[in-house]
């Protein structure tokens, strides 16, 4: 009850004229109290834990993470993974979303469903499928050998190729869907207007299409970056310990080596990265040039 009462108290001090206590507001109380206790408190406690060790307040966890080239390298790995995945998803997703937005009628519904459906399939299942594809006797080697690109099957599992292939495979729809929803709104007559005013296709793309679809690029980019920087299942199965990421370190810190302060500090650093990203993207969308939703 405390949360709801606090809220009401704030309301009555802000507007002293309004005395009426609306009992109906109490319907929000169970959900708010639950989320306060089960979500806000644990996250705040985790942040607190990262500043505490056995002797009380300490920054030892952060000193360990940020002072050690090994852990700096791991943060770098996570950022690199997220950057490359986002860049490839954008490069492939942009034209695909464009085609999806320009097609009309029943085909659009069908193709949309085909992009959407893989999202609902479990990530563990998809990654399992990817590991089968990457085997020496798997379909990728089968295709490469039969198409004459390579002589003999090569090792693909646990390489960075399989990592990026898998990451893009799992997260590409998260780029296409936001792009599509923005591109669908774009008036195609604008492109004709640009062309009839003498602009070439490249010029039209850079001056009309790209600026107008920027909100989709920002939304998709933020989404793909933030989920791939925190990805755990896909990198774990496709490269394992050869390419350690922040997620692997956090999981290891809690599940294997039981260094809770290390895990908590890593978790807070990841939290800061995600928060910074969300703030940056909402700032970008609001600035003139991006604000055309």
């Amino acid at each position: 009850m405390t949360l709801a009462r606090d809220d009401l108290a704030v309301a009555s001090t802000a507007k002293p004229a309004r005395w009426s206590f609306d009992a109906k507001a109490l319907i929000a109380a169970p959900g708010l109290i639950f989320m306060g206790l089960a979500f806000a408190v644990p996250v705040l406690m985790l942040i607190g834990d990262s500043f505490v060790d056995r002797d009380g307040l300490s920054l030892a966890g952060y000193r360990k993470v940020l002072g050690d080239p090994y852990y700096i390298g791991i943060i770098g790995n996570s950022l690199q993974l997220a950057c490359i995945t986002t860049a490839v998803c954008l490069a492939v997703g942009y034209p695909a979303a464009w085609a999806l937005a320009r097609i009309r009628g029943v085909w659009q519904v069908i193709l949309f469903a085909l992009i959407f459906l893989p999202l609902t399939v479990s990530i563990v299942v998809k990654t399992f499928g990817l590991t089968i594809m990457m085997r020496r006797d798997g379909i990728i080697n089968f295709l490469l050998v039969n198409l004459g690109f390579i002589e003999r099957p090569m090792r693909l599992v646990f390489t960075e190729f399989s990592l990026y292939f898998g990451m893009v495979n799992v997260f590409l729809p998260f780029m296409i869907l936001p792009l599509y929803s923005v591109m669908r709104m774009l008036d195609p007559r604008l492109l004709d207007a640009s062309a009839s005013l003498g602009a070439g296709p490249v010029h039209t793309f850079l001056r009309v299409t790209l600026p107008l679809t920027m909100p989709g690029v920002i939304a998709g980019g933020t989404l793909v970056f933030s989920i791939s920087v925190a990805a755990y299942v896909t990198p774990g199965l496709l490269v394992g310990d050869r390419f350690m990421t922040m997620s692997q370190v956090m999981a290891k810190a809690y599940l294997n080596i039981r260094d809770f302060q290390l895990g908590a500090s890593m978790a807070v650093i990841m939290l800061v990265i995600s928060a910074a990203l969300i703030l940056a993207s909402s700032y970008l969308v609001r600035t003139p040039g991006g604000e055309r939703r």
Partner: protein, 263 residues
């Protein structure tokens, strides 16, 4: 030139769809293979891996646990989330926008961070029971999906209808139940479906909360993939895929896929 551009985009789209479906089709193919190794192309067709599922006790237990957790957490989120969303939409509580963002924010946090936070909190609060810890954590996971869809549905709902029902003699809860609930049913269906899938498929939070005897399906599946991958895993994955498609088709009949995805 423009024609060339649009042709290029369509080619990319076709390539993308094939690319996205590759691992899914591979899992389906392997599940019908007569061989225990994952060679491509498979040497023959058989249903033996589906038959062997009947004996995969730990896997079936995991399916049952995940189904329970996903259904219960979705139901709890639907009730708590909808009540909260009504208060937010009606401006009954101050700072409605902040409250809405707060209720939807677990989706924006990295899953592992949430999982670690739950693990530590459960320890500090002395919560030992794996089942209830999992359930509480999954309510937090499912809440954002419910909040987003229900808030969107409520923004289109005319609350004057609730007032009308009250003037005609219904109590406030009865008015909500008979007037509001049927009207925003599509929001419940699509939000509930996504919430269910998010919970059923969750790995990064559950991994910190499960114990040896109580494992959710994604954890059990990944264990099996890492330890002894055989086509039984593919068979259960194939059933999962078919189940998801069936659920999507049912929900599409009820509310329309386009509408579900756009919210």
């Amino acid at each position: 030139m423009a024609l060339f551009g649009s042709l290029f985009c369509r080619l990319v789209l076709g390539f993308v769809i094939v690319f996205l479906f590759l691992p899914i089709l591979i899992v389906l193919t392997v599940s019908f293979s007569s061989s225990a190794v994952f060679a491509f192309p498979p040497p023959g067709f058989s249903l033996r891996w589906y038959a062997s599922l009947a004996n995969a006790d730990s896997m079936l237990q995991a399916v049952w646990l995940s189904t329970q957790i996903a259904a219960l957490s979705t139901a709890i989120s639907l009730v708590l989330g909808t009540l909260c969303a009504i208060a937010i939409t009606r401006g009954m509580i101050p700072g409605a926008k902040v409250v809405a963002t707060f209720m939807a924010s677990p989706l924006m946090l990295p899953g592992l961070v949430l999982g670690i936070a739950f693990l530590q909190a459960a320890r500090d609060f002395g919560l030992r029971d794996t089942y209830s810890t999992l359930l509480i954590a999954h309510v937090v996971i499912t809440m954002p999906f419910i909040m987003r869809t229900v808030l969107a549905s409520l923004s289109l709902f005319d609350f004057a209808m609730v007032d009308a029902a009250r003037m005609l003699g219904r109590s406030y809860p009865a008015a909500l139940w008979t007037v509001l609930v049927p009207n925003i049913l599509p929001g419940f269906v699509s939000g509930g479906l996504f919430a269910f899938i998010a919970s059923f498929d969750n790995y990064p939070v559950s991994i910190f909360l499960v114990d040896v005897r109580t494992k959710t399906l994604p954890i059990q599946l990944l264990n099996q993939v890492e330890m002894s991958p055989d086509p039984t895993v593919a068979a259960i994955s194939a059933l999962l895929i078919l189940g998801t498609i069936a659920a999507l088709i049912v929900c599409d009949r009820l509310v329309g896929l386009k509408r579900m995805a756009s919210i």
